[in-house]
């Protein structure tokens, strides 16, 4: 149970309220938004972001940032895709191991640069964002992995009444919840983000924990890579993962995770992803071109930051008043 009790539940409830209000508002203009079919569309939009957001959440709670997850998704996806293409005999579930492994490795590299060289993670991941994207092009010779090479069983995971990718995404969310709230090392991540100076004094192995969160973020980004192949049926070195980091960060920030670290809940992030999914699904119905998506995500990040700040300000002011009266 994360601390910040009342304030927090208020935040998660607030997002849920926003989702409901938004859906009602859109539903009035376009009634088909409130159908099961539409809900399914929304659900299919979010698994990748949800998985990415779980990893990014841990990184941000630890007071870092990982901007490279989109490129990690691409690189992991393209390597896995090329494995399917050039080694067709390999059973397709091996693709999961490859994607997650590649992702974890890339994330680990981010962690090493941040801890060993004491570099700010934002600049490191800005560099690796480009580095990994470049590698994606190099490895694939700038060619996409076409539909016929992606195993049909894999593609089938995104179809059906209850698509497997949604199940996996939910499972990851539950796993992250267990990790963040109920394991010792998970709580150490929160402690580290809350007060990085005090952490070593309390026996927290700062470097180990930091390496771990970046590796997890990378691994989950890698998982989202093979999910991409499943969902869309192909992997393209240019498009796969493009803009992914911004969608994920938007969802995480909406979900109440504080940029300063130490604060954030899985439930909040899930709601944040859901809200973003609803917004994305509503755009075509409302006739807003897909090109507007970036603008909206940008606006969303800024608004979420403003809300985050005003909430903290009010909290600080309330504390000061309390103390004055005491």
């Amino acid at each position: 149970m994360s601390a910040l009790g009342n304030l927090f539940l208020r935040r998660e409830a607030g997002i849920l309220v926003m989702i409901v209000l938004f859906s009602i508002a859109v539903g009035i203009a376009r009634p088909q938004f409130l159908t099961i079919n539409e809900f399914r569309i929304v659900l299919l939009l979010i698994p990748l972001i949800l998985i990415g957001a779980m990893g990014e959440m841990l990184v941000i709670v630890a007071r870092h940032v990982d901007l490279s997850i989109g490129s990690t998704q691409a690189l992991a996806a393209i390597i896995t895709g090329m494995m399917f293409k050039f080694l067709p005999g390999v059973p397709w579930p091996v693709g999961f191991i490859v994607a997650i492994g590649v992702g974890a490795g890339l994330g680990f590299a981010n962690g090493v640069l941040t801890t060993l060289f004491r570099l700010p993670s934002i600049i490191v991941t800005l560099g690796t964002l480009n580095l990994y994207r470049g590698l994606t092009f190099i490895v694939s010779n700038a060619r996409q992995v076409d539909r016929q090479y992606i195993p049909s069983d894999l593609k089938a995971m995104s179809t059906g009444a209850v698509p497997w990718i949604i199940v996996i995404a939910i499972a990851i969310a539950i796993l992250t919840y267990w990790f963040a709230d109920h394991t010792r090392v998970g709580r150490q991540v929160y402690a580290l983000g809350s007060n990085p100076v005090a952490a070593p004094l309390r026996g927290i192995r700062v470097n180990a924990v930091t390496l771990m969160v970046f590796s997890i973020s990378g691994a989950l980004a890698g998982l989202s890579g093979i999910m991409y192949a499943s969902r869309w049926g192909f992997v393209n070195p240019s498009n796969t993962g493009s803009g992914f980091e911004f969608q994920v960060i938007a969802a995480v920030v909406i979900g109440g995770v504080s940029i300063n670290g130490g604060v954030g809940s899985v439930l909040g992030v899930v709601f944040g992803v859901l809200l973003l999914g609803c917004v994305s699904a509503a755009l075509p119905l409302l006739g807003i071109p897909g090109t507007a998506q970036s603008a909206i995500y940008g606006a969303v990040i800024i608004i979420a930051l403003l809300i985050d700040r005003s909430v903290r300000q009010r909290g600080i002011r309330a504390l000061a008043m309390q103390r004055a009266r005491a």
């Binding site: 901007l67 560099g127 190099i138 940008g298």
Partner: protein
């Protein structure tokens, strides 16, 4: 049982550590590293291709990255002041889009210029308000605004290119005294900003704000005004850079300058700007801009894929920060 020992004073330390010798201060600094790298790059590139020994070739190739270089100068000042702005590339795109769109709609070049540059300034003001007025962390804010600005550009221009009138195209080919216009602009701006940063009180206060903002405020330096000025300048310069790029390309698309933020930050870092603020120089960024131009052109000449080039830039960014941090931490005591 009292135990009184007479208190003999402890040995006093030297009142100050001995300073580093003058020659060390002048020579051992990140700009030297940049200069060495620049010379090295020249040597390697000229081995790759004899074109590099031709000054005109070098000047011509520089025009490709001149726009980013110009913005990188202001970026350097912002980083020295302790902030960062990742939105200028998106600003370039949106300003250029609005500029082209206005021209297309009204046929009036002066009006288009006003709209384009005005939009850039407004974007700078917006960034400034969020960072300084509302005290949001500049890095996340400008990631948000970069997405926003790029997105709005996408809305306005869609997936199409907006063409510019013939007389406006080809800024990079205009020669003034035999030097391509963008290069000259860059050099002039470098000299100007270099003087501002190095000799004026404004420049001094930028360093002081970046070194210790609280101390600067206590000393009566108006840090908020200073930073706001920088963000607005960034907006202004980005808009101009965007319009120049449009002139070079002949048309405007929403993805103008995509990935530019990496190059600008890279130039600043390669030039020895300290990411945490308080240190850096226009000279360093100036040298780094040329360095990057040589590297980019060299890579293209060596037939490296754009993707590979991207890789190299990513690696360079990381290495340059490690090296700069290393140099700064060694010279501190």
């Amino acid at each position: 049982m009292t135990d009184q020992t007479s208190a003999t004073p402890v040995v006093t330390a030297l009142d100050a550590a001995t300073p580093r010798p003058r020659w060390q201060v002048i020579l051992i600094r990140p700009e030297t590293m940049t200069l060495i790298l620049l010379v090295l790059a020249f040597v390697v590139s000229s081995l790759l291709s004899p074109y590099f020994l031709d000054i005109n070739y070098i000047l011509q190739s520089f025009t490709l990255t001149a726009e980013f270089s110009i913005v990188a100068l202001v970026m350097t000042m912002i980083i020295i002041a302790g902030e960062i702005d990742l939105s200028p590339a998106a600003n370039m795109a949106l300003s250029a889009c609005l500029f082209a769109w206005t021209f297309q709609a009204t046929g009036s070049m002066p009006l288009a210029l006003v709209v384009g540059i005005g939009a850039g300034v407004l974007m700078g003001v917006f960034n400034g308000l969020l960072v300084i007025g509302l005290q949001l962390p500049s890095i996340i804010v400008t990631i948000g605004t970069l997405t926003l600005y790029r997105g709005i550009a996408q809305i306005i221009a869609g997936d199409e290119s907006i063409r510019l009138p013939e007389y406006f195209i080809g800024f990079n080919t205009w020669l003034i005294a035999g030097i391509p216009a963008p290069d000259l602009l860059f050099v002039v701006l470098s000299i100007g900003l270099g003087l501002v940063l190095g000799t004026t009180i404004y420049g001094r206060q930028i360093y002081q704000t970046g070194t210790n903002e609280i101390a600067a405020q206590h000393a009566g330096i108006r840090t908020r005004r200073l930073k706001m000025g920088l963000f607005i300048t960034m907006g202004f310069v980005s808009a101009i850079a965007g319009i120049i790029t449009a002139s070079r390309l002949g048309s405007v698309r929403y993805d103008l300058g995509l990935g530019g933020e990496l190059q600008m930050v890279l130039m600043a870092m390669l030039g020895g700007t300290y990411i945490f603020g308080g240190r850096g120089s226009i000279l360093g960024t100036f040298l780094a801009a040329w360095l990057l131009s040589v590297i980019s052109t060299g890579m293209t000449t060596a037939n490296l894929l754009p993707a590979t080039q991207l890789c190299v830039l990513g690696v360079l960014l990381i290495i340059s920060i490690i090296a700069t941090n290393f140099i700064y931490s060694r010279t501190q005591r």
